[in-house]
């Protein structure tokens, strides 16, 4: 039994009272704490008083109902002493509200309660009652819950009841109202799993009626039902039926249906098997890459990564890759972006020689794309091609692209580019960090946008961890220390932020020799913000490094204890106190 602690700052009685408050905000707050109330008053009173009271809340605002179903979903079954039955009427009522998310949650909670009822007979009796009442309700949206509940219990009830349930589903699937038919289409995949209780004829007839439906969002969900059916014996018996229906969906007039089909290609391939995929569906994917709708080209390009595992190397080379050449120049940036995110996954499959001849050119074209989002997406998948072609061979061709991105107008692009550069530097080592590349890094450390400078500092620290201080000092740090004489204080701060970030890589000798004079110099800076940060950096170094740097750093702090600026004084004094 969970005992919940009252952290609201209000007494329980007040929370209970506010369930009836006129102020919706207060009602919501109380409803959010229903589990607290239940835990405090105990299971008996929760069963006998709280639950009946909640019935009265049921025609409240949608906002309250959303919180209510959320609250009841938490651990209410435990809070009523394990007697799930008690909650059924409340959840049944919540299946009839306007808000779809509340209906669905409530229906799923009913499913959960069913599994916790004491015996089969009870389950059958109560669930059939609820389903029939919801189905017969005047409120047509209540059928939403019916299609969720029927698959949950159909395999646990008598033959007669099964027939009743099947008839209910049949009627819903032919309902006049499109929304209602949509419910049955969406959840038909759950029913199909119960083949052969749900027999062949039923499945075929229902799917046939769905596919002739004039609403595309009803036809769409057939894809899921077919995928589900392939995991049952139905598939063995009716393979042709299933495959033909898949094909109809792939050729559907509505791009929404084709899109949904394409989106599920990986699952389809998994369910029918590699050979069947290649025989029946591979060509559709290739067709989608040439579809007139940019959405279709985009989803097809996105799926390359997943479906490439079904294709063999020859087919990728001869059929897929030629199509990519036109996609890389597509007018629509979303299409090119999708390509950028998945094309590199082909490299490991087709091997080094083919990658070099076929993928590398596409890579280099996308690298120069006019849309910086495309370039960044490409970079995020870099390791897929570097693992095949080797980091070294790519590094040279990548540098011009990096240089351009480093100056992009969008600061987020500039920040992402730093991470890419860091990736190469860490993989290749100091040879990658030529003068040209180092200059990029220094420029980023002096970027006009604070967030870019911060990213540069962090990545520099990472690099230094790997490449070591002696290298860093020769090639990088001396230049950074030089920032201390820049006129703009925001740039001077970079010196102190850098020291803080690389502290773990520094040894005490270096600190005494190089860092300390810097700190001493900057402690006399005319701008108080610099002096504040000298305090912060000094105390950090003193604590992290200890030993012979502590005393000199203490002296720096002491010199700032009488600073004219109140914040600097405070920082210096509290730093010394903490030592």
């Amino acid at each position: 039994m969970p005992k919940i602690e009252n952290t609201t700052g209000m007494p329980i009685n007040l929370i209970i009272d506010e369930l009836k408050s006129d102020d919706i905000r207060k009602r919501i707050h109380s409803v959010k704490n229903l589990d607290l109330i239940a835990s405090t008053i105990g299971p008996e009173r929760t069963k006998n008083e709280l639950i009946p009271f909640i019935q009265e809340l049921l025609d409240d605002d949608d906002e309250v109902l959303i919180e209510l179903v959320e609250s009841l979903s938490k651990n209410f079954i435990e809070l009523v002493g394990g007697q799930a039955q008690v909650l059924l009427p409340t959840f049944e009522a919540l299946c009839k509200v306007e808000d779809a998310s509340v209906r669905e949650k409530a229906a799923n909670q009913l499913k959960k309660c069913f599994t916790l009822l004491p015996d089969q007979k009870k389950i059958e009796e109560l669930s059939m009652g609820i389903i029939k009442r919801l189905n017969d309700s005047d409120y047509y949206l209540a059928k939403n819950a019916v299609v969720i509940l029927v698959p949950a219990i159909i395999n646990q009830v008598s033959q007669n009841n099964q027939n009743d349930l099947i008839n209910i589903i049949l009627k819903i699937s032919q309902d006049q109202i499109p929304q209602v038919r949509k419910f049955s289409s969406m959840y038909f995949q759950d029913l199909v799993k119960h083949f052969p209780i749900v027999n062949e004829t039923l499945i075929q007839n229902t799917l046939n009626s769905f596919i002739k439906d004039e609403q595309d969002f009803i036809r769409m969900y057939i894809v899921d039902a077919l995928i589900a059916s392939s995991k049952t014996a139905f598939f063995q018996k009716q393979q042709t039926f299933v495959l033909n229906m898949f094909k109809q969906l792939a050729e559907d007039q509505s791009w929404r249906v084709r899109y949904y089909f394409c989106d599920k290609l990986a699952d389809i391939g998994d369910s029918v098997g590699k050979d069947s995929y290649r025989k029946n569906f591979q060509n559709y994917h290739l067709k989608f890459l040439q579809d007139s709708e940019p959405e279709m080209k985009s989803i097809a390009a996105l799926k390359i990564e997943k479906v490439s595992s079904f294709m063999d190397s020859e087919e990728i080379m001869n059929k897929l890759i030629p199509l990519l050449k036109s996609i890389q120049q597509d007018q629509n940036p979303f299409v090119r972006n999708s390509l950028a995110s998945s094309v590199l996954s082909l490299s490991p499959i087709i091997g080094k020689k083919n990658s070099s001849e076929q993928i590398l050119p596409i890579f280099l074209t996308l690298l120069k794309d006019q849309d910086s989002e495309v370039r960044i997406t490409l970079f995020k998948k870099l390791s897929l091609i570097t693992s095949v072609l080797g980091v070294d061979s790519l590094s040279q061709s990548v540098i011009p692209a990096l240089t351009e991105l480093a100056q992009d107008k969008n600061w987020r692009i500039r920040a992402s580019t730093i991470e890419v550069l860091s990736f190469f530097a860490r993989a290749i080592g100091p040879e990658f960090l030529s003068d040209k590349v180092l200059k990029l890094l220094i420029d980023w450390l002096g970027d006009k946008v604070y967030a870019v400078r911060q990213t540069a500092i962090q990545q520099t620290a990472l690099l230094i961890q790997i490449l070591g201080i002696p290298w860093a000092d020769r090639n990088l740090l001396t230049k950074i220390w030089g920032f201390q004489s820049i006129q703009n204080y925001l740039q001077r701060l970079t010196v102190l932020f850098t020291i803080t970030q690389i502290a773990s890589s520094l040894n005490n000798d270096y600190i005494l020799k190089t860092i300390l004079p810097l700190l001493q110099q900057m402690s006399k800076d005319s701008v108080a913000n610099i002096r504040s940060n000298v305090c912060k950096t000094s105390i950090l170094l003193a604590k992290e490094k200890g030993g012979n740097v502590v005393e000199p750093l203490k002296k720096v702090l002491q010199s700032l204890c009488d600073d004219q600026d109140a914040e600097v004084k405070y920082q210096a004094k509290s730093a010394l106190e903490s030592l």
Binding site: A100, Y450, Q487, N488, L490, V527, N529
Partner: protein, 304 residues
């Protein structure tokens, strides 16, 4: 100190404080603001920011571009509340910064920092929604009365929210005002918060119904009399984020990108470095992901 640091952390996550905490913060703020002059002295280096109007996530974006407080010094030219969805969090965060780091941030009063305006343009309603009563609004508007109404940077740049007043010739005229009151309907204090520059000669009637419009001659005269390089103000939406007028004698800074989540404008901040060199930094509105606004309510079924 640690209370303040906790509040700052909470507010940075766009979580508003509870009623007790707000009252405590407002009390502390008044103690600090009461001793500020009508013409607050500000030193370089400092970054000047225009209207924010409750666009909290764009304020966070501003800090990403300009640097965090207190490492960067800031001067906000008012209009922190109204119109945006998060006036409460915006105002309280900047107020908390002011109390914790009084020498690192200065806040000037804008025409929206007033009881009348906030009842019409959103701050009052937001307080009601978030706190269930008008208490917090009352405490905040009391703090507004204490905010200073102008600042001067290194005796060379005059900063005010709106513009000039026919009743203000010398800077001492500002010092002699009594600012600790609701923004009046007319008079010098009202003008400073409501006026706009315009390509005219002399003074004119303002279409806003408060303050005046004033021309380049007035501006240059004021700057000459008081020995200022230029006037820095906000108050008017600028699509490019900033605008200079009258041979750089007046500057408008606007820091609310995509104003009202609709206009699609850029925003800017003005960085003045140690030697009063000017640098404008332009920035755009924060992305949807940064705003953390995923609709909780699914589209009603009949839209299918």
């Amino acid at each position: 100190m640690s209370d303040l640091d906790q509040w700052i952390t909470k507010l940075k996550n766009c979580q508003f404080l509870n009623e007790q905490e707000v009252i405590s913060l407002c009390t502390k703020a008044k103690e600090i603001l009461i001793s500020e002059s009508n013409v607050e002295i500000v030193h370089t280096p400092v970054t000047v920011c225009g209207d924010i109007h409750g666009q909290f996530h764009d304020l966070i974006e501003l800090f990403k571009v300009g640097g965090d407080c207190p490492d960067t010094n800031y001067l906000f030219l008012g209009d922190l509340v109204d119109r945006g969805f998060n006036s409460v969090e915006t105002f309280l965060l900047l107020l908390a910064f002011k109390v914790r780091f009084p020498d690192r941030i200065t806040i000037i009063r804008g025409n929206h920092e007033s009881r009348q305006t906030t009842q019409v343009y959103g701050f009052y309603d937001e307080c009601q929604r978030k706190y269930g009563s008008a208490n917090i609004w009352r405490h905040c508007t009391d703090v507004f009365d204490y905010l200073t109404i102008s600042a001067v940077i290194e005796n060379r740049v005059f900063c005010v929210h709106g513009g000039l007043s026919p009743n203000i010739v010398e800077i001492d005229d500002v010092k002699s005002l009594d600012r600790k009151q609701e923004v009046p309907h007319e008079g010098a204090m009202c003008d400073l918060l409501w006026s706009d520059p315009e390509d005219i000669i002399g003074w004119g009637v303002s279409p806003r119904g408060a303050g005046y419009i004033f021309g380049g001659d007035i501006t240059k005269e004021f700057n000459k009399t008081n020995n200022y390089d230029f006037i820095c103000r906000a108050h008017q939406l600028v699509l490019e984020g900033y605008k200079t007028m009258f041979d750089d004698q007046l500057l408008t800074v606007w820091s609310a990108p995509n104003y009202c989540y609709r206009v699609g404008n850029q925003a800017s901040i003005l960085e003045l470095d140690d030697n009063l060199e000017k640098r404008f930094k332009i920035f755009l509105a924060a992305n949807v992901e940064q705003r953390g606004l995923i609709g909780r309510h699914p589209v009603p079924d009949y839209f299918l």
